[in-house]
Symmetry: C2
Subunit: 314 residues, 2 copies
């Protein structure tokens, strides 16, 4: 370290503060990141937790992109080095001035000041992109719906909320596919937890049917030991199986079927929560979607909440 570096470090000493607990939720567009995030924010309250979307680090606005050979899913279309830098700053308890992409008109707006809170959920296309970005998180999640389900969700959202036609959304999905395969989906391998919400296609269910959840828990972080709570009988609406993941690596797979009874999922929530030796109350906000409670979503959010609380207390 040079004298100058020592001087800079010394001058910044007083700015040390308690670091936030950070959770990443990565996944492709319309994978369900916002839905998953919402329950966590409601459960802990916005005085304790905040969420940011890191898809605003666009290098180009929509007009500029028209001239370019890539979509926003390409790393070169984004300032991912600045995203990494901002994640590092937040993880050190520092504020950032975060860029803002205006989805309505495709322009880059004035940046916003973001101060870290006790817990932070960081969702987006690229949070697990690099070793430097991953190092900032206490737990990492990848949302992995079957592609046909995600496409249906994206069409529904972008036609309803972003003013596109179905043809435009489908053309955009096709254009993005090679970059999704090359840059987004590889992040799945770097997540501690892989979540799939989906109707069970192998049973003939369709995108209109209620969603079941599969939560793959990799032994990269200490997960709650669910064995006392959930059995391995696949006939049960909730079960836990040791399986090989697509990549051949061992993983604990928790299944929560859409037909699991409210009584069963509530009981499981309570039991999982009590595995932690802390005095945080269990929130009743988990799994709420459009005013109704969804059991598979609740259990999934609970596991993520478990990781947040556990990281705070260790």
């Amino acid at each position: 370290m040079t004298d100058k570096q020592a001087e800079i470090q010394q001058a910044n000493k007083s700015s040390d503060s308690r670091r936030p607990i950070m959770l990443a939720i990565a996944g492709d567009s319309a994978a369900g990141k916002t839905t998953l995030t919402k329950g966590l924010v409601n459960a802990l309250g916005d005085h304790r937790i905040s969420s940011i979307c890191v898809d605003d680090y666009h290098r180009y606005d929509r007009t500029e992109r028209k001239e370019l050979p890539f979509t926003p899913l390409h790393p070169d279309c984004n300032y991912l080095d600045i995203m990494e830098q901002h994640l590092k700053l937040l993880s050190e308890g520092q504020p950032i001035l975060k860029p803002v992409y205006n989805h309505a008109d495709g322009t880059l707006d004035r940046p916003v000041y973001v101060e870290p809170s006790e817990f932070m959920v960081v969702e987006g296309l690229f949070p697990l992109w690099s070793r430097a970005s991953r190092a900032c998180f206490d737990a990492t999640v990848y949302l992995d719906p079957p592609e046909e389900i995600r496409r249906a969700w994206k069409v529904a959202r972008d036609t309803a909320k972003r003013g596109y036609t179905e043809e435009q959304v489908l053309a955009d999905l096709d254009k993005r596919e090679p970059e999704s395969a090359a840059y987004i989906r590889p992040q799945r391998a770097n997540a501690d937890i892989v979540v799939q919400f989906s109707p069970i296609l192998s049973r003939g269910e369709t995108v209109k049917d209620p969603l079941s959840a599969t939560v793959l828990m990799r032994p990269t972080i200490p997960h709650p030991d669910l064995h006392p709570v959930v059995g391995d009988d696949t006939e049960e609406a909730m079960h836990l199986k040791l399986i090989r993941d697509d990549d051949g690596k061992p993983v604990d797979a928790l299944h929560v079927h859409s037909y699991a009874s409210e009584e069963a999922t509530l009981k499981a929530e309570e039991a999982i929560w009590n595995l932690m030796d802390v005095h945080e109350p269990l929130s009743d906000e988990l799994g709420m979607i459009d005013g109704k409670r969804d059991g598979p979503l609740a259990i999934t959010q609970l596991i993520l909440l478990f990781h947040l609380i556990q990281a705070r207390h260790t």
Copy 2:
């Protein structure tokens, strides 16, 4: 250091790079910061040196400010914590996404990506504001024209280039005066070098007369030893005097009068440059203003350039 902090540091190890040499030029609005900066950039060339203005860290746009009790000279009107953070990142060789204030319409625009170059000049209202910001610089300058001269310059610039009337500029200057006194001028005490360009008012010169330069060199950094080059005879157009500054502290005061001959200032430039044991050629871009060479400006810029080059070689 916690495990998480160690992990973050480890993951960022490869991003270490050579740090830039950084020079701060602080001063109130229209003090002459841009003029002083230009010669340095021209002398070293934009492949080696870049300059940024740090007056863009506005918390509010012009419309929002109308409702507020303070001007942009008030720290609460700015994200000075983010300015400090960005200075620190640049000084570590990291890029930043710098906010942009649009002087034409008073709005906050999309931010710009700034990568540090070998040398960086950082000019603005607040670069010497805090210990953390000052620590980032190898040398610090405060521009200190007499207030009546600065007011005349500001009226001239803002009516010609920013579309204001003289009455508007004068009213704005009056409104800013208490905050200039409270927050801008105290930075003078924290500069290694205090520069005053001014007609010599005590001789009856006015704002229309050519400018002389006074360069106060505080013993806070090692300055070039000018004794072999400049004498202490105050009858000479260039002279060096040991004086007490306004605050009573000892300081070397270099005076370069407007009537110093081109031959004398060129000879002094050469001699000062040769005090450095480096093989950088002396630029002939110093002191150029509107296509003509100004001796007092050239000598002042040379001293700053000396500090940049010296810091690079030590």
